[in-house]
C-alpha cells in the first residue's frame, strides 16, 4: 500500500557488511522520518524485499546482486506497486550525484520528490563517504604493491649489474622515461621477465 503523507517512509538497504549497514541505518533514522530495514544476504533477494513493501530500496552501485533488483522495475515483478529506478527520474542533479556517490535507488512510483530528497541526500552523503574511503584504501594498497615490485626490480638490477640501489633506481627511471612508461610498469616487466628466465 502506498504511504500516506503522514506515514513513515519504509526504506530497505541491501548491504552485506554489517558495520556499513549500521552506519547507513543510523544516518537515515537520524532523519526521523523512516523505518529502515537491512537485507544482508542475496539469496531470494526480490522476495525478501517484497515482504517489506518498501518505498525506497538503496543498494551499492558496485554490488553485483543489483541485477536481481532490476526485476522489481518490471510490471510483472514481485512488488505489486510499480518501481522506477530513481536515477532515470526527473530529479536531475540528484540522480547524477547518486551515481557518482555509488548508490542506486529504486523508488516506488509516485513518491513525491519532497519526501524523497532528504532520504537521498543522506544516502548520497553516506555512500559517498564510504566510496571515498574505499578508493583511498585501494590507492594505498596499489602504492604499496608498486613499492614492493620496484624494490624487487632494484634488487635484481643490483645483483645482475653490480650497482648500488640509487644507480639501480636511476636505471629504472631512465628506461621508463625513454619508453614513455611508468617506473612501476618497467619494474613489473623486469620482475616477470626474470621469473621466466629463472
Amino acid at each position: 500500500m502506498p504511504s500516506g503523507m503522514s506515514a513513515k517512509l519504509t526504506v530497505v538497504v541491501v548491504e552485506e557488511d554489517r558495520d556499513r549497514a549500521i552506519g547507513i541505518i543510523d544516518a537515515l533514522t537520524a532523519n526521523g522520518d523512516c523505518d529502515v530495514h537491512v537485507i544482508g544476504h542475496a539469496s531470494g533477494l526480490a522476495r525478501k524485499i517484497a515482504a517489506h513493501s518498501p518505498d525506497i530500496v538503496l543498494i551499492d552501485i558496485d554490488n553485483p546482486t543489483r541485477d536481481m533488483m532490476e526485476e522489481l522495475t518490471l510490471a510483472s515483478g514481485p512488488l505489486d506497486r510499480p518501481v522506477a529506478m530513481f536515477v532515470s527520474g526527473a530529479a536531475g542533479g540528484l540522480a547524477q550525484a547518486a551515481v557518482e556517490a555509488g548508490v542506486s535507488a529504486y523508488v516506488v512510483d509516485g513518491l513525491s520528490p519532497k519526501r524523497l530528497k532528504p532520504v537521498m541526500d543522506t544516502a548520497i552523503a553516506r555512500f559517498g563517504m564510504v566510496r571515498q574511503m574505499r578508493n583511498e584504501l585501494a590507492e594505498t594498497r596499489r602504492a604499496l604493491e608498486e613499492r614492493k615490485v620496484i624494490d624487487r626490480a632494484k634488487g635484481l638490477l643490483m645483483k645482475a649489474r653490480g650497482i648500488d640501489e640509487d644507480a639501480a633506481y636511476a636505471l629504472l627511471r631512465k628506461s621508463a622515461m625513454d619508453n614513455g612508461r611508468r617506473v612501476a610498469d618497467v619494474a613489473e616487466a623486469l620482475v616477470t621477465a626474470s621469473g621466466l628466465l629463472g
Binding site: 539469496s43 552501485i61 543489483r66 541485477d67 532490476e70 529506478m85 542506486s104 529504486y106
Partner: protein, 391 residues
C-alpha cells in the same frame, strides 16, 4: 594524430573479447584511440555508466537498448547498437539434482537436441522449474522462453530469476534455481566447480542469435561521428582477428588475465574453440560456431534482429508496439554500420533486414562487393519470423 581516450564499460565475459583485443592487439591504437576498459560489477551498472555519461561506449546485452527504447526498466536514455559484438555463445545447464534425474531416465546429454532435452526435463520435474539468467533483458531470457513455449516444457512453463553469473553456483546449491542459461565462461566454471552440467548450447534454439552489442548513447553517436567510426573499425578488426583459429591461444591468454576475466585460459578456450566439456564426467562436445565474432556478417546489426527482440519483449510485458516497431528497430544502427565500415575492405550486406529464421544453408547475398555469404539462422522449431504472421 593525438590519441583520444575512450572510457568503455564491459562485463568480464568471453564475448567482451572484441573490445579487450581491440585495445590489447593495437587495433584501437591504429585508429588513434585508447580504450579505457572498465570492468563492471553488474549489467545495471554497465547501463547506468553509459546512460549517465561515465563511459562513452559499452559491451551490452542485445535486448537492453531495445527494451530501453520501449520504455521498459528504469532507465530510458536513447542508445544506439552500432555493431553486434558477438553471435551465440550461451549455454543452458542444470544443477546436480536435475542432472542425476536426467541421467537416471537415460537422457544422453547430446548437447544438440532442444526438443528431446525439454521432453526429458519435463519428465523429471516435480514442480516449478526455475532458471537463473544474468539479466531480465537478455538473449538468455528470450532463448529460454522461446524454447519452453515450443516444447514439452510449455504446458507447465518455466520460471526465470535473475542471478549474477558469479553467484550462480551458490544459487544452484541453495536451491534458488534448478538450472541456468549463462554466457561463457560461467557455464564451464559451474562444470569445473562440480555444481552443474551443460544441457544445450544457445544456438540449438536459435542458430544465429545476436548476443552482445557495442552500444553508445544516440546523441554521442550524432555529435562524435568520427570517434564512433574509429571505435567501430577497431572493434570490427579485433573481431576479424578473433575469428582466425591461430589467434585463439593468444586471445585466451590475454582474456584470462586477472585484469580481465581472471579464470584459467583453458576454460576460456572451451568457448573460443567450441569444444565444451559437459560435466564432471568430462564428456567433450564440439559445437560449430559456438561464439562468432566475424563470419557471416556477424557484426551487422540487422533491424530484423531488433524487431524479433522487440516483438518478444512486447508480448512478455504486455505492450502494444504495432505502430512503433519500425522506429524501435532503428536502435540497431545498420545505417551507421554500413557507413563507418565501408572503408575496412569488409563486405557489407546491401539490405538492413532479413527474414530471421529463413536461412538454412550458407547463402550468398547482395553485398557491396558481392562476396558475402550469410550463415544459417534457423530457429529450432523451423518457424520463420515474418511480421505478417503472428509470431
Amino acid at each position: 594524430m593525438k590519441t583520444v581516450n575512450l572510457p568503455v564499460a564491459y562485463m568480464p565475459l568471453v564475448d567482451a573479447a572484441p573490445l579487450i583485443m581491440a585495445q590489447e592487439m593495437g587495433f584501437a591504437e591504429a585508429e588513434g584511440i585508447a580504450l579505457d576498459l572498465i570492468a563492471a560489477p553488474s549489467w545495471s551498472s554497465v547501463r547506468d555508466m553509459l546512460a549517465f555519461g561515465r563511459v562513452d561506449a559499452a559491451h551490452m546485452l542485445s535486448p537492453v537498448p531495445v527494451a530501453m527504447a520501449m520504455g521498459l526498466g528504469g532507465v530510458t536514455t536513447a542508445l544506439s547498437a552500432v555493431s553486434v559484438l558477438s553471435v551465440n555463445g550461451n549455454v543452458i545447464g542444470v544443477g546436480k539434482g536435475l542432472e542425476a534425474k536426467l541421467r537416471a531416465i537415460g537422457h544422453g546429454f547430446d548437447f544438440a537436441d532442444p526438443v528431446a532435452a525439454a521432453k526429458a526435463l519435463d519428465r523429471v520435474r516435480d514442480g516449478p522449474l526455475t532458471f537463473g539468467v544474468p539479466f531480465p533483458f537478455s538473449m538468455h531470457v528470450e532463448l529460454l522462453r522461446y524454447w519452453s513455449a515450443g516444447t514439452a516444457l510449455g504446458a507447465k512453463g518455466i520460471e526465470i530469476r535473475t542471478v549474477p553469473p558469479p553467484l550462480m553456483a551458490s544459487a544452484l546449491a541453495a536451491g534458488d534455481v534448478d538450472a541456468f542459461c549463462v554466457g561463457e565462461p560461467w557455464g564451464s566454471v559451474s562444470v569445473e566447480q562440480g555444481v552443474g552440467a551443460l544441457l544445450l548450447p544457445g544456438q540449438s534454439i536459435w542458430q544465429f542469435a545476436p548476443e552482445k552489442v557495442l552500444a553508445v548513447r544516440r546523441d554521442w553517436a550524432d555529435t562524435e561521428p568520427d570517434l564512433v567510426a574509429r571505435l567501430m573499425r577497431a572493434v570490427f578488426r579485433a573481431g576479424r582477428w578473433l575469428s582466425r583459429p591461430e589467434s585463439r591461444s593468444a586471445a585466451g591468454e590475454v582474456l584470462s588475465r586477472r585484469l580481465y576475466l581472471d579464470v584459467p585460459s583453458e576454460l576460456i578456450d572451451r568457448a573460443l574453440s567450441g569444444n565444451l566439456i559437459l560435466s564432471a564426467r568430462g564428456e567433450l562436445r564440439p559445437v560449430e560456431r559456438f561464439v562468432e565474432f566475424f563470419h557471416g556478417a556477424a557484426t551487422f546489426p540487422w533491424r530484423s534482429q531488433a524487431k524479433w527482440i522487440a516483438t518478444r519483449l512486447a508480448a512478455e510485458h504486455g505492450q502494444d508496439i504495432s505502430g512503433r516497431l519500425d522506429l524501435i528497430s532503428h536502435v540497431f544502427r545498420a545505417d551507421l554500420h554500413r557507413r563507418h565500415l565501408a572503408m575496412t575492405s569488409n563486405d557489407l550486406p546491401g539490405a538492413s533486414e532479413k527474414v530471421e529464421g529463413s536461412i538454412r544453408h550458407d547463402t550468398p547475398v547482395a553485398s557491396a562487393q558481392g562476396n558475402l555469404s550469410l550463415l544459417p539462422d534457423r530457429f529450432f522449431d523451423g518457424r520463420i519470423f515474418d511480421l505478417t504472421d503472428e509470431f
